[in-house]
């Protein structure tokens, strides 16, 4: 859906650094970061309020991890576009996420080009 | 005067090369590169600070910012002149340091091409030659172009700044 407006993104990660990196990369490339969440529970809450076009979810987080958050968000909105941010060694969880409806995934550490390739297709 | 200065400051970095603000001390005319000058103000009340070299007159309140002021006459070991309403403070900023220079009066901003600048003669005695980085020819006149960096950061200045702890 091409539009005049920037695509809105909600970034979820318990590490401020990761949120910042992702935010910087996305903002540089025409995405609007409408919110940040430090864990899955907050992400689900914010999803309801902010209704972003895209959500990124880190997998390992306190309180509620990425996989759980994915399911909650999908329950709120079947068509939600969710990108999982995973680390090497989390293949099993990523597969689960795909089954649960994740749109795609990126493996840490990532570069800007990598992020873009995924986001361009959304 | 302020208008001329504003115009030139608004010009881009590149076109500032070769633009100098000229002012006079006694009979001599000096120039400093416009890029260092942030503003020019009239002389105002100076608060003395103890134990400073004589040419550092003290500090002034510039819209809430405290800046030190140097009397250029004294820096050049000339006689102190009474300040009058033509006396100006040229506020310069180099490498994060802001200082005000007290000068007799400010003349104008002029362009001096590199081709019209020659290095200062080595023979001339005068103390203030260490601060002159070149001599600019403007028509029939000559302007002594100052090295602002040296003016502020001479070693002599540095050694005066370090006041040793008094042992007790």
């Amino acid at each position: 859906m091409e539009g005049l407006f920037l695509k809105k993104v909600l970034i979820t990660d318990d590490a401020a650094f990761m949120r910042f990196s992702l935010k910087t990369m996305l903002e540089r490339n025409g995405f609007e970061i409408v919110g940040e969440a430090e864990n899955g529970a907050i992400a689900a809450e914010k999803y309801k309020i902010l209704k972003p076009d895209i959500v990124t979810l880190d997998i390992t987080m306190p309180v509620m991890d990425g996989l759980q958050a994915l399911k909650q968000i999908k329950a709120i909105d079947k068509s939600a576009k969710v990108i999982m941010i995973s680390a090497m060694g989390q293949e099993g969880i990523v597969r689960e996420a795909i089954i649960s409806g994740a749109t795609g995934f990126i493996v840490k550490p990532f570069k800007e080009e990598t992020i873009l390739k995924v986001f361009e297709k959304l | 005067m302020a208008e001329i200065l504003d115009e030139t400051i608004e010009a881009s970095e590149d076109t500032q090369k070769g633009k100098f603000l000229t002012f006079s001390i006694g009979k001599e005319a000096y120039g400093i590169e416009i890029k260092f000058v942030t503003e020019i103000i009239g002389i105002q009340e100076i608060t003395e600070v103890p134990e400073l070299p004589d040419y550092v007159k003290g500090i002034i309140n510039l819209r809430g910012k405290i800046i030190p002021v140097i009397d250029v006459r004294l820096r050049f070991r000339k006689e102190l002149k009474q300040y009058n309403d033509r006396t100006c403070i040229v506020v310069i900023n180099i490498k994060e340091t802001t200082v005000g220079l007290i000068v007799d009066n400010v003349a104008e901003v002029i362009n001096i091409d590199d081709s019209n600048i020659v290095p200062p003669p080595q023979i001339k005695a005068g103390f203030h030659n260490r601060y002159v980085r070149g001599i600019g020819k403007v028509g029939n006149e000559v302007k002594l172009l100052l090295d602002c960096d040296k003016l502020l950061n001479d070693e002599e200045l540095d050694s005066l700044n370090t006041i040793e702890d008094i042992k007790y």
């Binding site: 990196s21 996989l67 099993g92 597969r95 689960e96 550490p109 | 103890p50 030190p68 700044n161």
Partner: protein
Amino acid sequence: MPEDGVVREPMLEIYLFEATQLMEQLEEISIECEKNRKISTEAINEIFRIMHTIKSSSAMMMFNNIAVLAHSLEDLFYFIRESKAINIDFEKLFDLVLLGIDFIKGEVSKIENDCDADGLSEPLVLKSSNLLQDMKKANGVIIKDDCQAKKEDTKYYISSYEKLGSEIKQKYLARIFYEDGCEMENVRAYTVVHNLKEIASEMYHIPEDIIESDDSVETIRRDGFLIGFSTLTSKEKVEEQLNEIVFLKELELKQVEEYPLELKVLKAKIEINLEKAISEESVFEKRSDKLDINKEEVANIIKSGKQQSIISVNISKLDMLLDLVGEIVISEAMVTKNPDLEGMTLDNFNKASRQLRKLTNELQDVVMSIRMVPVSMTFHKMNRIVRDMSKKLNKEVELVIIGEDTEVDKNIIDHISDPLMHLVRNSLDHGLEDKEERIAASKPPMGKITLEAKNAGGDVFIIVSDDGRGLDRGKIYEKAKLQGLVTKPEGELTDKEIFSCILLPGFSTNESVTEFSGRGVGMDVVKKNIDSIGGAISIESLMGRGSTISIKIPLTLAIIDGLEVAVGTSKYTIPITSIRESFKPKENDVIADSEGNEMIMIRGQAYAIHRLHRIFNIDTEVTSSNKGIMVMVEDNTKVACLFVDSLIGEQQVVVKALPTYIKKAKGIAGCTILGDGNISLIIDVSGILDR
């Protein structure tokens, strides 16, 4: 945060900030766990998460030595978590973790100082993997393979609508190559399969195992991912869908009559198994409901209490805010005390200006409170030092922390950390006796060091005390005399005065230089640090019982209550907290000694006089004592009188630093802008009394 104005790239800034925070958190958890000899599930998870985060961030920032170390520690705690290991050598484990923390802190420090993070983490990584091996053996546990229970049998996927009979379905063969560096190609291939399921009625692929096997990643990278499938969907639509694949480097798609041999083999295998499976009533379609791996984490732990609402704000913004508030305070005074208003009756105006004053005061309080930070972080850092040192010195020591919630200006916190460390080290090293000595002295075998913080008026007190052997007044006096640091006879000096000799540079009574405290090098540096934030140290001690060192620091450097005084045409501000009293002296009260030093007698005590006009070389007509005013001031150890022309009034002033270009004279602490725009220099009482 950089203090010298050096601006770092924001991403690096955040990385360093977060890494430092996480290391401090980790240290605290580790020491706690080690002390209690147990690791709760919460702790394991937290430690794991911290290592995981450091691993990822460090890799992103290309600090690979840190990333690799974090990874190995992550693996360690992953094992502990998954295997629910019970045989854990706590000391070994946390020794390693603490070494890891030290390494990472060290590298972070290097980066902060613009040096290369060139430390080698290999030795620690090796240690870590050895420890992991040992733990595995000690726990004899094979990590349960949870995966098997959950996996979907994609290998054998056959759509349910196959049964409905074949319509015109077309067979396709696709080979997918992924871009280099996209990682987890096996999972990406799985995604393709997962997505194709919706349109395909059968699918066979090579590599077969894209779930369990890591080798499949290599195969896919080398030969591409080969899928044979049949579908009703048109070729254009199929192509479109496949082209949507993220990180697609190359796609070969063609319609085929028959699948190639290698896929046919798979098909045959599957059909055999399919029959077997159906007969065994294994449930194909049923998804494994055991997807809630982390249920326990979700269940109880909405830790709303622990997660405070905090945002991190750039310090420079806070500084700007404080500056502005300061300006408002001055402007407010300029308006309400404007000379233009003199003599006018302004009831409504006065009422309004009182309200304005009230609001500006409130604003000031709030802004200053933003900069206030509790001392707890700094105090807790000491835990580590006590732990390490008490181990090395073989002394049992307990660290008691009181009043950690006491708040201090952020600027100040940074300056007390080092002094505190010195003091704690000194207590541990020299103050506390070892076990035998303590028992012999009828003291409890465990030594106690107390760190206390409390508010008192406009100051904060930080007190470090121990119950060790205390200071030897006689010894200290002797040493001081030897070094030429005192001239008066011992009897004339108070305990406080003698004890404060240890703060003088070049002083030491230590017979041996220890690894930790050196030859008394610490104490004068401590004093310097404290002086630089406008604080004061005083020392008390009782032989055999212990010592107490009290540090008094101003609540904030930014705004102080001052007394304006005039000296000639200059105005000076004396901090109210340093003033005892002020009075007009009588000519005869002032006496001079043989060297010309002036003194004044007040209630039987003699106080030295410091004439500001002489000290600062100011022209003034007020030179005879009875024409001016005496202001009695005190610092940490001395009390004296300052002679000024006249008092102007009490005023709250915003402290501004003198421009760095001007090095301040001893006795000037800074300056402030008065309501009328003039500048007043702020007196540093300690500096004047030391002259």
